[in-house]
C-alpha cells in the first residue's frame, strides 16, 4: 500500500505540474510576444505580471456562459471537456525522472511505465481531435463546423508523418517504452545526433497537432472568425485555450524525451558518483535529472512561442501539400535510410539523407541562371 501512495503523489505532482506550466505558459506567451514586438508585455497584475493567469481565469469565470439556442447542448458542453481530458491524459507515460529510492524500493518518477508508452501518447493525440470536432459541430455554426473540419483533416494528415518519423527512433531503440528510449540515450548519445531529419519532421508535426501557428488554421480568425470556438465563451473557451497550452507542454516533454535525452544531462554519471550511492544521494541525482528534463521541456515551450510570433500562417492547400507531399515522403526516406544504417550498424547514417538533401538544394540554387534573378519591375502605381 505504501508504494501505492507514493505513486499517487507522483501522479498528482505530474498532473499539477502540467497544469501549472500550462497556466504560466499563457503568461509567458504574452510576455514573449511582447518582447519580440519591442514592448514589455503584461506587467500590471503582480510583479512582472505574474498574477496575470489568475486575473485571466477570474475574468473567464465571471463572463457570461452562453449556449446558443440551436446548439446541441450536451455535445457543446462535452467539447471542451474532451479537449481538456485528452490533453491531460498523454502526460501519463512521460518519464520525468529516473528512480526515487524510498525504503529500499526503487520508484520511477513517471505516471505509469508501460511497454507501449510512445504509442499511448500517439493514441491519445489521435483522440485529441474529438474535442475540437464535437465542439465545432455542436455549435451549429458554419464557421465552427469549418474550423472543426479543418482541425480534423489537419490532425489526421499530420498524424501519419508524426508516426512515421517516430518509427525511425523506435527502430534505433528497439522498444516502444519512452523510458527505454530515454535510457538508450544515456551518456551523450542523444537521438538528435542520429535523427536530424526525423527531429525536424516530428517537431513540424507536433506544431500541427497542437494547432499552433503556423498551422493554426482551425481557428484562423481572418477566414473563420474564431474557428471551432467561435460560439464558445466564458470558461468553456478558457478550457479550449488551456488545453492547447497543456498539449504544448506535453509535446515539448515528448520531444525532449525522444530526441534530447530526457532526464539525461552531460556529466550526469560524475555528478551521481560525487553524490554517493546511498538513498539521499540517489534521490538528489534524480531531482537534478528531473530539473534538467523540465528545463529542456520549457525550452521547447519557448520554441513553440518563438515560432508563433515569427511565422505567418500557411494557406490551407500549402498545409496539405507540406504534409502529404513533403513530410510523409521525407519520413519514409528517413525510415529507409535509418534501416540501411542499422543493417550495417551505423547509427549516424541518417545524416547521409540530410547531406544529400542539402547538396541537392545547394547545387540547384547555384545552377539557377543569373538572368532569372531580380527582374526589374515597377512597384504598383499608387
Amino acid at each position: 500500500m505504501d508504494i501505492f501512495w507514493i505513486k499517487a503523489i507522483i501522479i498528482l505532482v505530474i498532473f499539477g505540474l502540467s497544469l501549472f506550466v500550462a497556466m504560466y505558459s499563457t503568461w509567458a506567451e504574452r510576455k514573449v510576444a511582447g518582447y519580440m514586438q519591442d514592448r514589455p508585455g503584461p506587467n500590471r497584475a503582480g510583479w512582472g505580471g505574474l498574477l496575470q493567469p489568475l486575473a485571466d481565469a477570474g475574468k473567464m469565470f465571471f463572463k457570461e456562459d452562453f449556449i446558443p439556442a440551436q446548439a446541441n447542448k450536451w455535445l457543446f458542453i462535452a467539447g471542451p471537456c474532451l479537449a481538456m481530458l485528452t490533453a491531460l491524459l498523454s502526460s501519463a507515460v512521460i518519464p520525468f525522472g529516473d528512480t526515487l529510492r524510498i525504503d529500499g524500493q526503487e520508484i520511477q518518477v513517471q505516471g505509469i511505465e508501460v511497454n507501449i508508452g510512445i504509442l499511448w501518447v500517439f493514441g491519445i493525440v489521435s483522440l485529441g481531435v474529438y474535442g475540437v470536432m464535437v465542439g465545432g459541430w455542436a455549435s451549429n455554426n458554419k464557421f465552427s463546423l469549418l474550423g472543426a473540419i479543418r482541425a480534423a483533416s489537419q490532425n489526421i494528415s499530420y498524424e501519419l508523418a508524426l508516426g512515421l518519423s517516430l518509427i525511425a527512433v523506435i527502430m534505433m531503440t528497439g522498444s516502444l517504452s519512452v523510458r527505454d528510449i530515454v535510457n538508450t540515450q544515456h551518456g551523450g548519445g542523444w537521438n538528435i545526433l542520429f535523427q536530424p531529419l526525423g527531429f525536424v519532421i516530428f517537431l513540424t508535426c507536433a506544431f500541427a497537432e497542437c494547432n499552433r501557428t503556423p498551422f493554426d488554421l482551425p481557428e484562423c480568425e481572418a477566414e473563420l472568425i474564431g474557428g471551432y470556438h467561435t460560439e464558445y465563451s466564458s470558461m468553456k473557451l478558457g478550457f479550449y485555450l488551456f488545453a492547447e497550452y497543456v498539449n504544448m507542454f506535453v509535446s515539448s516533454c515528448v520531444v525532449s524525451a525522444l530526441y534530447f535525452g530526457g532526464f539525461n544531462y552531460p556529466f550526469m554519471d560524475k555528478v551521481a558518483e560525487a553524490l554517493g550511492n546511498d538513498a539521499t544521494g540517489h534521490n538528489i541525482a534524480t531531482a537534478i535529472g528531473f530539473f534538467a528534463f523540465i528545463a529542456k521541456a520549457l525550452f521547447f515551450v519557448f520554441f513553440f512561442m518563438w515560432v508563433r510570433w515569427t511565422l505567418p500562417r500557411f494557406r490551407y492547400d500549402q498545409l496539405m501539400n507540406l504534409g502529404w507531399k513533403s513530410l510523409i515522403p521525407l519520413s519514409i526516406l528517413n525510415i529507409i535510410v535509418t534501416g540501411i544504417g542499422l543493417m550495417f550498424n551505423l547509427r549516424w547514417f541518417s545524416w547521409v539523407a540530410v547531406v544529400i538533401i542539402v547538396a541537392v538544394v545547394a547545387v540547384q540554387a547555384a545552377m539557377k541562371p543569373k538572368a532569372a534573378r531580380g527582374i526589374l519591375e515597377a512597384a504598383p502605381v499608387r
Binding site: 511497454n115 507501449i116 493514441g123 489521435s126 481531435v129 490532425n155 489526421i156
Partner: protein, 171 residues
C-alpha cells in the same frame, strides 16, 4: 475492486454502448457511442494484458476511422432528416432476415469448440508487443507481406481515383 468485477462492469458498458449505436436516432450520437464502444474494447484488451492491441485499436479505429465517420456525419443535414416510410413487405422481410442472421450466429457460436485456457499453459507475455512481433515476422511473414502488397495496391488505387483528370474543373 477485483479484475472480474471490472470485467463485468466493462462488458455491461460495452453492450450498452453497442446497443446505443443502433438504437440512438441522431447519427452523431451513434458515432460517438461507437467510439465509446471501441474505448471499452481497448479496456478489455488491457485487462487481457495486451496493451499493444489496445492502443492500436485506439489509434486505428477510434483515432482515424471514427474521425472519418464523424467527418461524413457532420456534412449530413440532420435537421431535414425524415424517416422514410417503408412498406409492410419491406419491414417483414427485414425482420425475417434479421432473425435468420441472429439464428445463424447463435448456432455457429454454440457449435464452436473453445480451446479452454489452462493455468499451466498461461503465459503473461502473450499479448506483449515483442511476442506479437516475433509471431508476425517469423511465423506469419508471408501473409504479412501479402497484406502489405494488398494495402499498397489499395493506396495506388486511391491515388489514381483521387487524381484530377484532364479537363476536369480546377477548384
Amino acid at each position: 475492486m477485483s479484475a472480474d468485477k471490472i470485467w463485468y462492469l466493462l462488458t455491461a458498458l460495452t453492450i450498452v454502448f453497442a446497443l446505443a449505436v443502433i438504437l440512438v436516432r441522431n447519427p452523431m450520437y451513434s458515432v460517438l457511442c461507437l467510439v465509446l464502444t471501441f474505448l471499452c474494447l481497448s479496456c478489455h484488451y488491457i485487462l487481457l494484458n495486451a496493451q499493444f492491441l489496445a492502443v492500436v485499436n485506439l489509434i486505428v479505429y477510434a483515432g482515424a476511422i471514427m474521425v472519418l465517420f464523424l467527418f461524413v456525419v457532420m456534412f449530413l443535414n440532420l435537421r431535414e432528416y425524415k424517416e422514410e416510410t417503408k412498406s409492410t413487405l419491406q419491414r417483414v422481410a427485414a425482420f425475417v432476415v434479421g432473425i435468420a442472421i441472429l439464428g445463424a450466429i447463435v448456432m455457429a457460436v454454440r457449435r464452436l469448440q473453445y480451446p479452454m485456457p489452462s493455468a499451466e499453459k498461461f503465459d503473461i507475455r502473450t499479448g506483449y508487443v515483442e511476442v506479437l512481433g516475433e509471431t508476425l515476422f517469423l511465423d506469419y511473414l508471408l501473409p504479412f507481406e501479402l497484406v502489405t502488397i494488398l494495402f499498397f495496391v489499395a493506396m495506388v488505387g486511391a491515388v489514381m481515383l483521387g487524381k484530377r483528370e484532364k479537363g476536369e474543373r480546377h477548384f
